[in-house]
Symmetry: none
Subunit: 192 residues, 4 copies
DNA sequence: CATGAATGAGAGTTCATTCAT
DNA sequence: GATGAATGAACTCTCATTCAT
């Protein structure tokens, strides 16, 4: 594995654990057992690491959702998209956090690439909903609102989870609850 | 306005703008045009300010939701609860952020009061859902999952909004979209 | 008890526990349950408290040694002086510390009073030794050296004790050791 | 001279002048004309400097006393030990202060090394006294008390000196007095 | 007589960053 | 390609002290 990757991995791990501000270049350097100065050979500054990470997060997410594209039935595709979107958030809370929760510290060039990925993913999602609409799957034809509503649910679910706002539910029940909620929203969508 | 309030206001504003770690006591002091040392006359340390703020947020939220309790019909009550929950988030993004998004820096005693408020509010919400279930309003009787699902949607909606993840929608359309989504989820709930 | 006394008592206790620099006016104020500003009504500043304390220490020491003056036999007087000198150090480690160990932060007027007391005490001690010499109690007639040597022993004994340099001796044996050492030096003096 | 040494030297000088609490990292930095942050490249924190210093002091003391070990006659060895102990204190008042007077700010690992040195030195001293006892040099056979008594005298002598409690003796006479006192205690020991 | 309110100065410490090697 | 050495700026927090009330 080459350097940039190693730095990103360490940074990611630390960012997630202690938040952006809680991580220092020194910490990252220590984690990969190099000197702080070395980091600067690969990244201009701290925020560049941040953006690189955000980009990587977007890439991982894309890869995670890639298989969905092959599903023919729009409805099946939509369901699988949702399932995998949530799954991505649960498996990579740090990446999800970076993409959808963390307050971004001003844009950058790197970031634009990331933005493109995000837009692409979102478009794909909306198109899938549109396909369902076209197939008269729902009574409603308001594609935009349908897509947005589903997204709200999925994002709410993941972000309550990873920002630890489910403490009123016993630890071991949380995941099951999330799963049941996903099934429920699917059912609810069916009579949209 | 007295000091503690002034500090809290400044802190709230800054926390919201730059996150907990991004704000220094110095920043707060500057904002209210006092010396840093003065802050310590009113709050023991930084985290105490944070907890005071969180508590205030919880109190404002409670007040915002208070009128809901008077509504007799469980279903109407549930809808109004949702509407007002979202409304609170939109009107006080900084407070909402503090309560449901910000990563908390370890608990404290002060915080327990806050936690109680949160639990109370959540219980009220779940009880309302339960009342709907008891009134055979839904086909489903899984109160817990219903409540959680609705919460996910509302939280997702608010948090995508205040953490600025709706950039793909033109600024002026966002609020309308949120409103439409709320109506849609209500409809969806009707055929649960 | 009046204020100045109360301040001094609190200060003394704290100085001893945490050292001069470890004590703040605030600490003292808290200890006597007054506001810091109040302290300044009674003492100009921190160092003045320090000097007042030193003076008090000297007074307590004088009182502790007072009974000695009444002893007729020079030799008995000398022994009792030593015994009481050490006893004072053991009973009031904080005061002894202040008088004989603490590095004094520049002189002051107050301090001169203290100095006078110290000189008086020392003179009395030397005179007692002189009386022993005059009574041909020792073979040696070098009063100054005899006095100084005895003082060295007593001071060494007390200061090793109160600055905790006797850790190689088990706690419970220390006092006994000190006592035996005093007896030994008395014996040694007899064949001076 | 390398950095760590330079820091230690400056720190030693300042500690001696103003006490542990009176010295700030900033002070030390200024003294060696570096930035405060630089200090932290060489020592983890303030107390580590302190302990390093204490260790160095113990090492210098050991070296100072080393030649004593070669003396065969126990009595000669004992006398020379005393002479050199006092000599060490006079020549390195700051080091002596650190070892035997300064109030220590809690132990540490570094410190344990220092403690070992101290114990070794003390043991050697006691063994020497024991050797004298074994050789029936004294009438008394209470090794422990003898050793302790001699130590008290030496420590008292040095510490009155370096903590400036000999102001009643004219400056130029002080050293001579100390010397005479040492001779006297030796004589006194002879008839123990 | 006592204090609440305020602060400048300074404490220890960590950080992102640079640069000569 | 990597780093040791260095630092200015910032951090949280405490202190002695003042002054209007």
């Amino acid at each position: 594995m080459e350097m940039r990757k190693r730095i990103l991995d360490a940074a990611l791990h630390l960012f997630r654990e202690r938040g952006y501000d809680g991580v220092s270049i020194r910490n990252i350097a220590e984690a990969i057992e190099y000197s702080p100065a070395t980091i600067y050979l690969y990244y201009k500054d701290k925020s560049e690491i941040f953006f690189a990470l955000q980009f990587e997060a977007a890439a991982v997410k894309r890869d995670h959702l890639l298989p969905v594209a092959g599903i023919e039935s729009p409805w099946e595709r939509l369901i699988e998209f949702g399932r995998r979107y949530i799954d991505f958030g649960m498996k990579h809370p740090d990446l999800y956090d970076l993409l959808f929760i963390t307050r971004t510290p001003m844009e950058s060039i790197e970031n634009q690439e990331c933005w493109k990925l995000g837009v692409a993913s979102h478009s794909f999602f909306v198109e899938t909903v549109q396909a369902c609409v076209d197939a008269r799957f729902f009574k409603s034809t308001d594609t935009e609102t349908i897509a947005y509503t589903l997204w709200c649910h999925a994002h709410g679910l993941v972000s309550l989870f990873i920002r630890e706002r489910m403490r009123m539910y016993p630890e071991e029940k949380r995941e099951a609850l999330a799963k049941k909620s996903f099934e429920m929203i699917v059912k609810m969508a069916e009579c949209l």
